[in-house]
């Protein structure tokens, strides 16, 4: 089982990002995804900076480096940036919008299909394999059973399976909007947001009126408040077809997270239960934790 580090979904300043990747370069990671996937106004690092960072990481880490594209591509300027990203000439690209799939297909470049692409069955997967998909990160709401069935459906179509990467750890990216919820919470119009998301390195927690943590506001993205964690389910992950586990960056403690997953893949017993949630994997509401609801 390989371990990957997903793109940073929050907005961190340049210094924090560079410190973070310097630390991650020393971890037992097989793949590192770079780039901004949430908001085109977040420019702590531009495309050239990301490519420069990738070259530096390439020298000090054995991880494969991948460049992730924006998930919601609306403005013509965002489409132009996406074209530049696809034309980078060095790194594999993770497509998070069908527009990116089209650009990569036109260039006859292989790609990773990120979790923001709606691929839920073998026929859809087959279509994207024909476009150049070589690794599939299923939508976060997919259960282990749906993923296994999708791959079996692909087998029945006589197609080779792509690599499969599960979103195994982190706040789940659940929704994308035109509206910036961080700016709204800060009472600012989106066009004058002053990039206020920089003040919230792990987003803003949204609670119910009873104080139950429900969601995390992260700019135009809404995430789970709970951290999805599939470490206790480790034994089932490979059986369902997973080749890689994606660990999605958090503001603190990522080295420990990588170490915990690495220990289990190297033979340590997985924990019986973990904090957070894993309901989606078990075909239940995503917010649930299997051991709590006795699955």
């Amino acid at each position: 089982m390989k371990l990957s580090l997903g793109p940073v979904l929050f907005y961190w300043n340049r210094e924090k990002l560079l410190d973070f990747y310097a630390e991650m370069a020393e971890q037992p990671l097989d793949v590192i995804y770079l780039g901004e996937t949430v908001c085109s106004k977040r420019r702590a690092l531009g495309l050239d900076d990301w490519l420069g960072l990738a070259r530096e990481l390439g020298e000090c880490s054995r991880a494969e480096l991948v460049l992730s594209g924006l998930a919601l591509v609306e403005a013509a300027s965002e489409l132009s940036s996406l074209k530049r990203l696809c034309d980078n000439g060095e790194l594999l690209v993770e497509a998070n919008d069908m527009g990116a799939v089209q650009l990569l297909r036109e260039r006859k470049l292989p790609f990773v299909a990120g979790p923001a692409l709606n691929l839920y069955n073998g026929h859809a997967l087959a279509e994207l394999i024909d476009c150049g998909l070589q690794r599939w990160v299923p939508p976060v709401e997919c259960s282990g059973e749906l993923i296994r069935n999708t791959l079996e459906q692909l087998d029945s179509l006589g197609l080779a399976r792509p690599e499969v990467e599960l979103f195994a750890y982190g706040h789940l990216p659940l929704a994308y909007s035109a509206r910036c919820f961080t700016a709204r919470a800060e009472n600012r119009p989106k066009d004058d947001c002053q990039i206020c998301c920089e003040n919230f390195p792990e987003g803003i927690v949204l609670h119910s009126q009873e104080g139950e943590a429900l969601f995390t506001l992260n700019g135009i993205q809404t995430m789970s408040a709970k951290v999805n964690n599939l470490l206790a389910d480790y034994a089932q992950l490979a059986t369902a077809g997973a080749d890689l586990l994606r660990l999605s960056p958090r503001a603190e403690g990522m080295a420990g997270v990588v170490a915990a997953f690495d220990a289990v893949r190297c033979g340590a017993l997985p924990p019986l239960a973990v904090e957070g949630c894993n309901g989606y994997w078990h075909g239940r509401p995503g917010m649930l934790r299997a051991d709590e609801v006795m699955l």
Partner: protein, 331 residues
């Protein structure tokens, strides 16, 4: 611009036709469409009789098979596509690349529209669906500003349809798992959002609470009007403040934008609400028909009539409407 109206039942379809819809869109009675609510949608007999009326009146019938197929239910999506083709519908509205591929190969003459659930918000995405599946129209998600709709329409390889009126999805359609996070059922996979079976109302001394799978979505004082607990429209706590942190209960209404949308070359406007009553369909269709006809007759002197506005306000969530993402200030 063509007026495309919803029908979740035969009476609603008849109402839409009566009031001048150019096209009516419907779904089959299962999870192959994004309004899979109990008691909703048309059975085979109703579909046949609806289609007969549509043909007599020279209108069009579209069928939405616009959820994402699950591998173990694939045959159901295949059958829905085959059935739509056999009926001879004027368009099949779909989102799943697998479903689109099947439809375009198996029924090459079937007219395909990309559903809003396909979540295509830029010209490159539209080009993919056009080149691979020959779609002839695409419905844009309700996340684009007017300027962005213009940019997309200019570069789009296919005619564009936009949402004109109805319940407002504040997330990009097809890109929202909030409902499945709380309830296990999502628009993409199950054709539902905030499903009725997960809703609980609770009345106590302080007022009324609405819950979704146990999670408190909103709490209303005694005299406060209460709305369906669509989870993105509840009041939540953010940084200690209680407010509609995602969106107020409100509906999209774009009567004011008819001149701009026409100028951009938008080919059709869509009314949301297959889950609404025939009376809703009747009234919204009547107002929009009147507005589009008034504009076509005298574009220079077009203005939104107060009675149109009040009729639509009374049918809107929370009795209020918004231009939504079309207007930058909403974003």
């Amino acid at each position: 611009m063509q007026l495309v109206c919803p029908a979740g039942s035969l009476p609603a379809l008849k109402a839409a036709v009566r009031q001048g819809a150019d096209a009516v869109y419907v779904g089959f009675r299962d999870d192959t469409n994004a309004r899979h609510f109990s008691g909703l949608n048309l059975d085979d007999k109703q579909l046949e009789s609806g289609l007969q009326l549509i043909r007599q009146q020279g209108r069009q019938l579209y069928i939405a098979v616009n959820t994402y197929a699950q591998p173990d239910g694939w045959a159901r999506w295949q059958r829905a596509v085959d059935q739509a083709a056999a009926l001879g519908v004027d368009a099949l509205i779909a989102a799943d690349p697998g479903v689109l591929a099947y439809a375009s190969r198996r029924h090459p003459s079937l007219n395909l529209h990309l559903s809003v659930q396909g979540s295509a918000t830029n010209a490159a995405a539209l080009a993919l669906y056009q080149q691979r599946y020959g779609i002839r129209r695409a419905v844009l998600p309700r996340v684009l500003s007017l300027a962005q709709v213009r940019q997309v329409a200019e570069k789009s390889p296919v005619p564009i349809e936009v949402f004109a009126f109805g319940s407002l999805c504040i997330m990009a359609e097809g890109r929202c798992h909030l409902s499945s996070y709380l309830t296990g059922e999502s628009p993409n996979l199950c054709g539902v959002c905030s499903p009725a079976k997960a809703v609980r109302w609770q009345e106590d001394a302080d007022g009324l609470s609405s819950r979704l799978n146990g999670v408190l979505i909103d709490r209303y004082a005694k005299d406060e009007p209460a709305g369906y607990p669509t989870l993105c429209k509840g009041r939540f706590l953010v940084n200690g403040q209680r407010f509609h942190a995602l969106e107020e209960p409100t509906s999209l209404n774009t009567l004011d934008l008819i001149p701009q949308l026409t100028a951009m070359g938008v080919s059709a406007v869509k009314i949301e609400g297959r889950q609404r009553s025939p009376a809703y369909v009747e009234q919204v269709t009547r107002v929009w028909r009147a507005a589009l006809d008034a504009y076509a007759l005298a574009p220079q002197s077009f203005s939104v009539q107060p009675q149109w506005r009040s009729a639509l306000d009374s049918l809107s969530e929370g009795s209020q409407t918004t231009l939504g993402a079309y207007h930058r200030s909403w974003q």
